[in-house]
Amino acid sequence: MGAKAAKDPVPRVSIPLNPVFGWTVGNWMENFFDGMKEGKILGSRCPDCGRVFLPPRMICERCFAKADEWVELPATGTVQACTEAAVKVAENGDMVDLENPEIIAMVKHDGADTCITARLEGADASIGMRVEAVLNPGAENVLDLLAAYRPMG
């Protein structure tokens, strides 16, 4: 290896890269958000293999078929993976400590084959735990329509 770089401080300029993007979510996700505004959880089903996608996907990756059958799914599901977050990611990318740790869970709704990741209310979580979605049909921001999950019973 050649000589190491000189250790004089290098001049730095900070350039924030935060342009505004306007992603099109597409008709499938729009249907999903519209459903939640009415308190319904809508998944898309592959006509070939019967897999149900939640959040909905337009194409089944296994069959390359259009998942154009719609099914209403219950708000209940099972935790597939979970983690207790001691930190959160700040806007600059640093992981900063949370005052109160929170649970993030990957939940498979009953009848679905894919997962939604969301906060789980309460302090304890385990894989296999039964949970239900906390829906907020009146929420202004579509991302708050499915606010979190809470343990059942």
């Binding site: 290896m1 979510v25 993976a81 983690t83 977050a85 993030i104 990741t117 969301a118």
Partner: protein
């Protein structure tokens, strides 16, 4: 593959939290040193593949200002926006096509100039997960670890043990950023909690650095000293993280399958002498033992406990310290290939393992190791 392409030179810059120099300078250092190691000049290069990422470099078309330092001025050049281990595959196909004889692969990034784990968050589904600000590379890895622990019964202490092994090995690697000679699981368990079960010392440290490798066709490699032959390569992409079972690395298994078929590996645990795996999180190393066929499904913890993957074991894994020692985005996978080649040549110095004839190297890209690539390397 039988003597069709060989690694004939390589170099890594030191890995540092802040290299305090431009990325162009890092690339220039790595490129020059790799060419020197191969006994070649810039003029000898037929094709150059860089591995870098617009988000990590904070600029569009991030390869275009690497033309000069990567030696690709007025040469055939392209960029793979993945880990350098994947760029190596592209270079390999360029050589196997017969159009080129000598290729340079160079990978770089500088964690000191990009926002920590933000570029990973930008990989998420923009229509949903990206905007919810819960998933990132670390929380995703934590969710994967929880699913794996639940399925396999592996404990946090075992995961911490893997990190400790690699941090101890890193003490023998002069280029490593982070090392903890004599580290044990308790020390790792005492580090800062991030997303359970992931703690600071279980996460490979992002850093600044570059590495480069020179690949030659069989014909061109015949003249080289100690060529390290590529015996096989396999590569696969997995489903998005919320759409697959997280407790196994299916795409790594697929990649290993096609690599082993080319390399004539039937029993990985006995035919492979050493492995360098790209473990961005300690539990991924345990999962990779299974996917690579070193042990049976869900047996990663027991295989680790057997001591087989320690420096003095029958199949040392990450003798260099692996990514736990230094994890340059875009570079750490290529660094695994370089480290594996060093071991085959017997040039690894203080972290040289004994009797390495056939070595495996692994690289990955994406959240929860979504895309995986595997190489088997050998000497004569």
């Amino acid at each position: 593959m039988e003597k069709e392409a060989a690694i004939i030179g390589y170099a890594q810059t030191p890995y540092e939290a802040d290299s305090n120099c431009s990325r162009e300078l890092l690339v220039l250092q790595a490129t020059r040193a790799a060419l020197e190691a191969a006994g070649l000049k810039r003029e000898d290069l037929d094709t150059i593949v860089t591995a870098n990422n617009d988000y990590l470099d904070g600029r569009t078309i991030s390869n275009m200002r690497l033309v000069e330092p990567a030696g690709s001025w007025r040469k055939n050049e392209s960029k793979v926006e993945m880990d350098g281990a994947f760029a190596l595959l592209y270079a390999l196909t360029r050589i196997l096509s017969g159009d080129h004889d000598i290729a340079l692969v160079v990978a770089e990034s500088q964690a000191s100039v990009y926002g920590g784990i933000l570029p990973g968050i930008m990989m998420l589904d923009p229509t949903f997960d990206r905007q919810r600000w819960l998933l990132n590379e670390v929380s995703g890895a934590a969710l994967q670890a929880s699913a794996y622990m639940d399925a396999s019964g592996v404990s946090e202490e075992q995961i911490a043990g893997v990190a400790a092994k690699n941090l101890d090995n890193a003490a023998g690697n002069p280029l490593a950023l982070r090392s903890l000679p004599g580290a044990d699981a308790a020390k790792v368990m005492a580090s800062r909690p991030l997303y359970s079960p992931i703690r600071d010392l279980m996460m490979a440290p992002l850093c600044d650095g570059a590495c480069a490798l020179v690949l030659a066709s069989g014909k061109a490699a015949a003249k080289a000293e100690k060529p390290v032959w590529i015996k096989g390569v396999g590569f696969a992409h997995d489903s998005y993280l919320t759409e697959r079972p997280l407790e196994s690395m299916n795409s790594l298994k697929l990649a290993a399958g096609s690599c082993y078929a080319q390399a004539g590996i039937e029993d990985a645990a006995s035919q492979i002498d050493l492995a360098e795996v790209h473990e961005r999180f300690a539990h991924e190393e345990l999962m990779s033992y299974e996917a690579l066929g070193f042990c049976g499904p869900l047996q990663g913890g027991a295989f680790f406990d057997s001591g087989a993957t320690r420096m003095d074991g029958k199949l040392p894994v990450n003798a260099s310290g692996g990514a736990m020692g230094a994890n340059v985005d875009c570079g750490a996978g290529l660094a695994r290939v370089i480290e594996a080649a060093m071991q085959v040549r017997g040039d690894a110095g203080k972290h040289q393992a004994k009797g390495v004839k056939t070595a495996l190297a692994h690289g990955q890209t994406g959240i929860c190791a979504q895309e995986n690539i595997v190489y088997v390397l050998g000497g004569e």
